[in-house]
Symmetry: none
Subunit: 541 residues, 2 copies
């Protein structure tokens, strides 16, 4: 429990880019983070350079309690960000120091605590069932207690805008109670997401003038205005903005961190991220979608794959003259690319560029490039995707070019003869998986059988059993992640399946892809690519 | 070619809700409308009650030419809307009357024409390669010619906001040229989507004051502010707003018609749709996604399936007290529903509420409720998720309560003895899947074997083969979707797998879930729940 201010960010503590993906974002239907996921999310957000990361609600959710415990014992070393615990004010009939929920916030060892409090009189009276004086006392006591214990405290004023419109005095009393007790930022929350920017900006200006307190903003997207509302609030004086990655959140979601940061940096010229941070927006957005196991939104502002894609037509020739006449910003600013769709030229150029990135020189071999473009197009039409599978793409490209790597690939480390997987759900209820592989390796034909928790696990185990006596490097290779996506447009259980396999040898990680109507075969293709790719990087003896 | 004003809409011609899904929306990567699709889209938009439907660019695109031809010969009878043809001003070196592109606009027989014109001096000089005087002449001549031919003309001033910021005189000269020649509405277009609402509203106010012309607005979503910008422009004086269904459009898309209409109706109290129109927003949005062959965005404001879904245990008890404390509007206003999601964060209150929604009364059976809460928590800790699997949750709840449904569940339609799945990748490269099931149904023991494209498909086929002679309702049940999620935090191929199965019997759809370390067993569990759930809804004979 140390610093309470962001480090190495241009605006320091003067402006807070505050992320609540791990708490409010996790409310999105379909998201269920493990503790390991949460740690990975926090690390990516810190790499991007947000100032504050709200990690969850310790005490209320066991996973969040564990997250803070693991973070505190060294699993999360934050370069820029400060970790924040979220919680509620004390119960109506309990002293703050005696409220177990409040104690859990201390126990989390997070240096900053964000407390949520009701500021709409109707919610205070009808949901909380106390009077305004007691509601203010709950805020005052809890803030004062936590500040007394050395924590920095922010207050999320729930349903603030509706509350302020209905009864401004109550809403302001709640803010004042928190401010007087030592809360540092009063966050005005559009909890039900019903606001529009012009009125919201007026309210923020009004409240800033009437209270003199430091204000923050937290917007939901129920009017499709969360990003606009957040930016308008900043223009009206808020210096703390709460967002979630890709706008994940309950109902229509929250204000999207990437669009808010993109707008603040490129439109308002506010350096809210460290140097180089803006150029990471696209990468971090896609990585966080991956962890949430959601497909990235291709049409997302700033970071979507289509955000700077132009359909050939009206603008095509003019775009070549000057892209900035048609793009609102240079896509590279946010780590994205311009794409002109459906032209073979674009395919060649980007594949050549990608090849260079992967160490495969296609520039000097135009025929290899033509053949690779054709192959990639055909595979993508069948459902393959190389966006997240550089290792498979590298193998595909290396198979096209002439050179020593091609020779290696002509003699792969092993050749499959056949495999068989048998799955049994027995009469006693036991479920078993067994796989047998027949492979040729080091001049021999090897047969091996193994069991596993499921068909792919059994197949992987059998393959390892067959190969590891012959391939010394195999033991260092581990499967670190395995993802399955059923491709849309192929309904039912006979859908086409795409499998991504991430492998690690302790030094580097690489990802391979397989596509087939049979999920086990798709997995097999990705597994094989993973091992072939490793063999390319292994000196032959 | 008749009326040029909307019919039977509360605001008549005073406010234009203008849809350009069929022209600008069709620029979205992945959308390709047939002429029949375009007619269907136009009919749905007319049912909703928009005032103007831009059908395309006749002359430029053969499909659009055909669309207008078929519309004009009676295939499109519009109740409310006016059909609009989109096109460009005359070429620099041609008289309007002699320009084939302009003639094609007349030939379309659309009563209204929207002309696009450049208003940014940089675009005029560098893309159009004429001087400002000639650009204005092109606008003036073309507008005057079409007005002279009896058409109502709107002008889309392309890149207006950037142009106005760079050189306001040029931008205003273009508007004035069009206005003086008889254009009825001057539409300010944020073509590259780079605007934010506060500045955009200032510009609209400024231009309205300086020109006295009727203004419209057309926004792209590159800052994630298209809806906010459109609404802000209306608040600043625009009386014509151009949108696309679900925000379809190039790059990040356009302003979403449904969110803009939702905001204007429910937030600003502007009756921009005919009576009953707002309640059609959800239905029409989903139908238009269907025609575009895109999955509806579950998190879309107002109309998404999750737009009024509540996950947090925090609010569930209060939602019972008064839903309007937590929803920004009554979901029925826009034809949507509130849903309560069951998750690890949920407690007794939300499970009881969810039970009521599913027709299972837990209020009177506190012990059943306690047991159900315990079971849901345990399963969710193991990786189950009932958020998207109402049918499985209903079965779980019905198994807890005492009553006739419980008796049905005590005698399920079939009982599994065992299954076996064999997957072969043969030496000749062929991949096969074969499943055998042994089940007890209608007092008999049945064994059946079937092949499939993959293990789950084979298992489904074998089960159907075993059961369908005995269960008459089975043939009506189809698997309509199948989703697989490998649960993070369990790395490698021995991960836990969650499968969601969506089934349909032609009348309703229901979703079930299965979780297991073996993907085939997880699928089996979801498949079985799907059939048991169907049997509950099927009268026993």
């Amino acid at each position: 429990m140390n610093r309470t201010e962001p480090v190495d960010t241009p605006l320091g503590d003067d402006f807070h880019l505050y992320d609540t993906t791990l708490r409010d974002g996790a409310q999105r239907e379909g998201i269920s983070y493990s503790v390991t996921d949460k740690l990975a999310v926090a690390r990516l957000l810190d790499e991007l350079g947000v100032g504050f990361i709200e990690g969850g609600w310790p005490g209320a959710l066991p996973k969040d309690t564990e997250f803070f415990a693991r973070a505190a014992t060294g699993e999360l070393a934050l370069k820029h960000a400060v970790l924040v615990a979220f919680g509620a004010t004390r119960r109506a009939d309990t002293a703050a120091a005696a409220d177990p929920q409040v104690r859990a916030l201390l126990d989390s060892r997070a240096p900053v605590v964000t407390l949520v409090a009701k500021s709409d009189r109707r919610h205070i009276e009808r949901a909380l069932r106390v009077d305004v004086a007691e509601a203010c006392a709950m805020v005052r006591d809890t803030v004062a207690f936590l500040v007394g214990e050395g924590r920095r405290v922010f207050l999320d004023a729930e349903h603030f805008f509706d509350g302020y419109a209905f009864d401004p005095d109550t809403a302001l009393r709640v803010l004042d109670a928190a401010g007087q007790a030592g809360a540092d930022v009063l966050v005005l929350c559009d909890t039900n997401g019903g606001q529009l920017p012009l009125q919201l900006a007026d309210t923020v200006r009004d409240v800033a003038a009437r209270t003199g307190l430091r204000l923050g903003i937290h917007c939901q997207d129920d009017t499709a205005c969360a990003v606009a509302n957040s930016v308008a609030a900043v223009q009206a004086g808020a210096t703390h903005v709460q967002c979630t990655a890709n706008g994940y959140g309950e109902r229509a979601g929250n204000a999207d961190l990437f669009a808010v940061a993109g707008n603040l940096v490129t439109k308002l010229g506010m350096p809210v991220l460290p140097t180089g941070g803006a150029a990471e927006l696209t990468r971090v957005s896609h990585a966080l979608a991956e962890i949430a196991n959601l497909a990235p939104d291709t049409h997302q502002a700033y970071v979507g794959a289509s955000a700077f894609a132009h359909k050939a037509g009206l603008h095509a020739s003019a775009i070549k003259v000057d892209p900035l006449l048609y793009n609102h910003i240079d896509p590279a600013t946010v780590g994205n690319d311009m794409r002109v769709l459906v032209t073979e030229m674009a395919g060649r150029a980007s594949l050549e560029l990608k090849g260079r990135e992967l160490g495969v020189d296609l520039a000097g071999q135009p025929e290899a490039l033509t053949s690779a473009v054709r192959k990639v197009k055909r595979l993508e039409a069948e459902g393959w995707s190389f966006e997240a599978a550089d290792a498979s793409l590298e193998l595909l490209l290396r198979r096209e070019v002439v050179g020593p790597d091609r020779d290696v690939l002509d003699e792969p480390p092993f050749v499959l003869e056949s495999y068989r997987v048998v799955l049994d759900h027995r009469a006693d209820g036991a479920v078993t998986s067994e796989a047998t592989v027949k492979v040729h390796v080091a001049g021999q034909r090897v047969i091996a059988t193994a069991e596993g928790n499921g068909p792919v696990h059994a197949l992987d185990a059998a393959l390892r059993s067959a190969l590891s006596p012959h391939l010394s490097w195999l033991d260092s290779v581990e499967l670190s992640d395995y993802k399955v996506r059923i491709l849309a447009g192929h309904p039912g259980t006979d859908a086409v399946t795409r499998v991504l396999v991430e492998s690690s040898d302790g030094e580097r990680e690489w990802t391979t892809v397989g596509v087939h109507e049979n999920i086990v075969e798709a997995s097999w293709l990705a597994l094989c690519d993973a091992l072939v790719h490793k063999s390319l990087r292994t000196p032959r003896v």
